[in-house]
């Protein structure tokens, strides 16, 4: 059976929230189509949205976290990477206090992710140092 379908999603690149279709042919992502009757993007996309499919199977895409060991980036597991980050943040907080840490969120995050980042910053780290990349 030959399968061609379009999967409606939101462009991952900025906070505007343009809708786009990912064209799927026999299970492979083959391109992007704009969503004409979508209330926000109304059938338009910018050049990034038009290429939103390009990174998914790109050869340069990172497949695992990388940790710098002795000056070289080495592939690592998520457990290893997140443990390292948690330890380092914990050490900085213990040494210099929570206000020595700041968090920058992003328009590329979903509302839910930004909510979690806000909670993480205020409730876990204990600082109000949280801002948005668009105000940089």
């Amino acid at each position: 059976m030959i399968e061609y379908k379009n999967v409606l999603t939101t462009c991952p690149y900025c906070g505007t929230g343009c809708a786009l279709h990912l064209q799927v042919l026999d299970g492979d992502l083959v391109g992007v189509l704009p969503a004409k009757n979508h209330v926000i993007s109304q059938g338009g996309l910018c050049i990034k949205g038009w290429n939103a499919h390009a990174f998914v199977q790109h050869k340069d895409r990172l497949r695992t976290p990388l940790i710098r060991k002795n000056g070289t980036l080495v592939e690592a597991s998520w457990d290893e990477a997140l443990t390292l980050v948690a330890e380092k943040l914990g050490a900085v907080k213990a040494e210099s206090g929570p206000d020595s840490i700041a968090v920058l969120t992003s328009a590329k995050c979903t509302n839910e992710e930004n909510y979690l980042l806000s909670k993480f910053t205020r409730a876990v780290i204990g600082t109000n140092n949280i801002d948005h990349c668009a105000r940089l």
Binding site: I2, Y4, N6, L8, L33, K36, N37, G44, C46, I47
Partner: protein, 274 residues
């Protein structure tokens, strides 16, 4: 008048078991419409069949047919989409013999929306809906009536808004070159907005659409800057018809002028420098 959606359902129920897939439109989440390949294995999907807004169906068909050159497909196409398919067949982008066309006739309102001169199909053996006559294109005529100075000012103003999203190229079923001049820095400067004048991006596209544009207006619809670029393609199409007697998408047999070797006399008739 019989409801087009019902009539299309009846036609598709008949054709679906006989082909490897039927390319049509499907209503997805929140009623957002996109092309979809219906198959006899999953006839229930037809419940979400949609007919509007129209989409660049010939381009989608090309993607599917390139991967499955032997497969037999039926495709629901409007007049402009049928013309697009015809033109792509002539440029070896689609295989005419493996296609069953189901012609969806546009309504008066749809024709007015697209400022369409030919809102009907001419090749499809199965047709859905009653054909309506073409409507005038006040946007193009309004432009044509301007003076040379006004025309220049008009395009300068329009192209000032271009964000170079490349959407008009991407969505155009007739834009299928493997190597695109618009990605060559010799022609189009990278990383500069508004684009410098003369606007090479749009001039190159205008030239490349000569005797190819089938007036589907997908470029205008996807343009985030609302540039009425179909004006230039339609005026060029008028010239091509006058000079070469060539109407894009009309006849499957008539060779496009780009593919003809012109005799000396014919060259003179074009009025082009020779």
């Amino acid at each position: 008048m019989i409801d087009r959606t019902n009539a299309l359902h009846e036609a598709l129920d008949q054709v679906l078991p006989t082909v490897d897939g039927v390319l049509g439109l499907k209503s997805g989440p929140s009623g957002i419409v996109a092309p979809y390949l219906y198959s006899k294995e999953q006839p229930g999907e037809l419940e979400a069949l949609a007919i509007w807004p129209k989409m660049p169906v010939p381009d989608t068909l090309k993607i599917i047919q390139k991967a499955h050159p032997e497969a037999q497909f039926a495709v629901v196409c409007r007049g402009c989409e049928e013309r697009g398919i015809v033109e792509m067949v002539k440029h070896a982008q689609l295989n005419w013999n493996n296609l069953t066309l189901i012609g969806l006739q546009c309504t008066q309102d749809e024709a007015l929306f697209c400022r369409c001169a030919k809102p009907y199909t001419t090749h499809s053996k199965v047709t859905i809906g009653e054909p309506v006559a073409g409507v005038p294109d006040p946007v193009t005529e309004g432009f044509a009536a301007k003076s040379q100075t006004e025309k220049l000012a008009f395009w300068k103003e329009q192209f000032l808004h271009c964000i170079k999203c490349y959407g008009c190229r991407n969505i155009c079923p007739q834009c299928f070159c493997n190597v695109c001049a618009l990605e060559d820095e010799k022609w189009v400067e990278n990383g500069r907005l508004p684009m410098s004048l003369p606007p090479m991006y749009h001039l190159v596209r205008a030239m490349h659409m000569t005797a190819k544009c089938v007036a589907c207006r997908e470029c205008e619809e996807t343009c985030p800057a609302d540039i009425p670029m179909a004006i230039q393609f339609r005026l060029i199409a008028r010239d091509v018809e006058e000079m070469f007697g060539y109407e894009t998408g009309a006849s499957i047999d008539q060779k496009p002028p780009q593919l003809l070797v012109l005799e000396e006399g014919e060259y003179e008739r074009t009025g082009l420098p020779h």
